[in-house]
Amino acid sequence: MLRPLLPWQAHHMSTTVSEPDVAAHHEPSWRAGLKDGMPPLFGIAAWGMVVGVAMVKSGLSVMQALGMTLVVFAGSAQLAALPLIAAAAPIWVIFVTSVVVNLRFVIFAALMAPHFAKLPLLQRFLFGFGTGDLTTALYLQRFPSEAPEVGKLSYLRGLLYPNWFAWQAGSIAGIFLGSAVPAEWGLGFAGTLAIVCLAVPMVATRPALVGALVAAVTAVLAHALPYKLGLLAGVVVGMVTAMVVEGQIERRKAANV
């Protein structure tokens, strides 16, 4: 398919000899993205469903829950925000908590962004917004190098679109399921269990494990702080502890060499 050249493309063509077009549609890559993204879709839909149930069970109305899932599109941050919303914490505390839970995406974005640096601004914003844990992992398996290659954007689209639909379908199903189930069933606890499943693989290293335990204990001890600041106190103390433990392990390694 021929498209008119944008100014920067024309400039680029004149300086370097026909660099591969990352953004052009490439059917085999699109199909490969769809195929590679298929196996986890069921899990994503189920995870969306748990978050959907948790949202309505923690007191959001169906409209609010639908709004949240459609625009926020970050399951772990949504789960983290629910107890804070239920406890009527200030909005800025919920905002900071969401940013903190999402901080891992900053690392992913730094790895992914250079691949697509030449897309138009709005596309970069939207594709970045839609790229979560799984999409990053699958994409970087296929394209570890930042060098421009034909089909990169098609592959990303193939991963991303079904992922988005599976998540939304699961969430919406969960929202309606949750609103039909009585509160006594305690289905909101499924949200806590989902956070447990997210956290356990993240404590694979010793600094992370120590930091997480310290964060949990700090949050329990500091739960009475005003504005629900106990959670953020836990994050700060836990993170500093993890960094100290990491530093000590590195120093010990250096001493042994």
């Binding site: 970050a74 956290a199 993240m202």
Partner: protein, 109 residues
């Protein structure tokens, strides 16, 4: 929270997603994050998740620490962690944890 406050919260959370996921894409080009900062970015999310789980499992609705066999969330949560370590499946773990929680609740209440 009022309806308006919840919608404002949703807007704020959307900004949180945009800041963390889209910033580097918008800047574009290659950015190297210093190792120390990477450590902080890596440890902060798991600390936040742990700081949510801890009070959720340990505190009763009045906000006192409940370390007893009547704390069904704690028992079911510990069982779920063990199950996850053993099976590594999120869906199974959530179902297993919910079954434990529901069974404890129905048997002892």
């Amino acid at each position: 929270m009022s309806d308006l406050e919840i919608w404002l919260t949703i807007v704020a959370m959307t900004c949180a997603t945009a800041i963390t996921r889209s910033s580097f894409w918008v800047i574009g080009g290659h950015i190297t994050i210093p190792t120390r900062v990477q450590g902080m970015l890596r440890y902060a999310p798991v600390c936040a998740l742990a700081a949510i789980i801890g009070p959720d499992l340990l505190l009763d609705p009045q906000g006192t620490v409940e370390f007893s066999l009547h704390n069904y969330k704690l028992l079911a949560g510990v069982a779920a962690i063990a199950y996850y370590l053993f099976r590594r499946s999120m869906l199974e773990t959530i179902m297993f944890g919910m079954v434990c929680f529901t069974a404890l609740r129905l048997i002892f209440s």
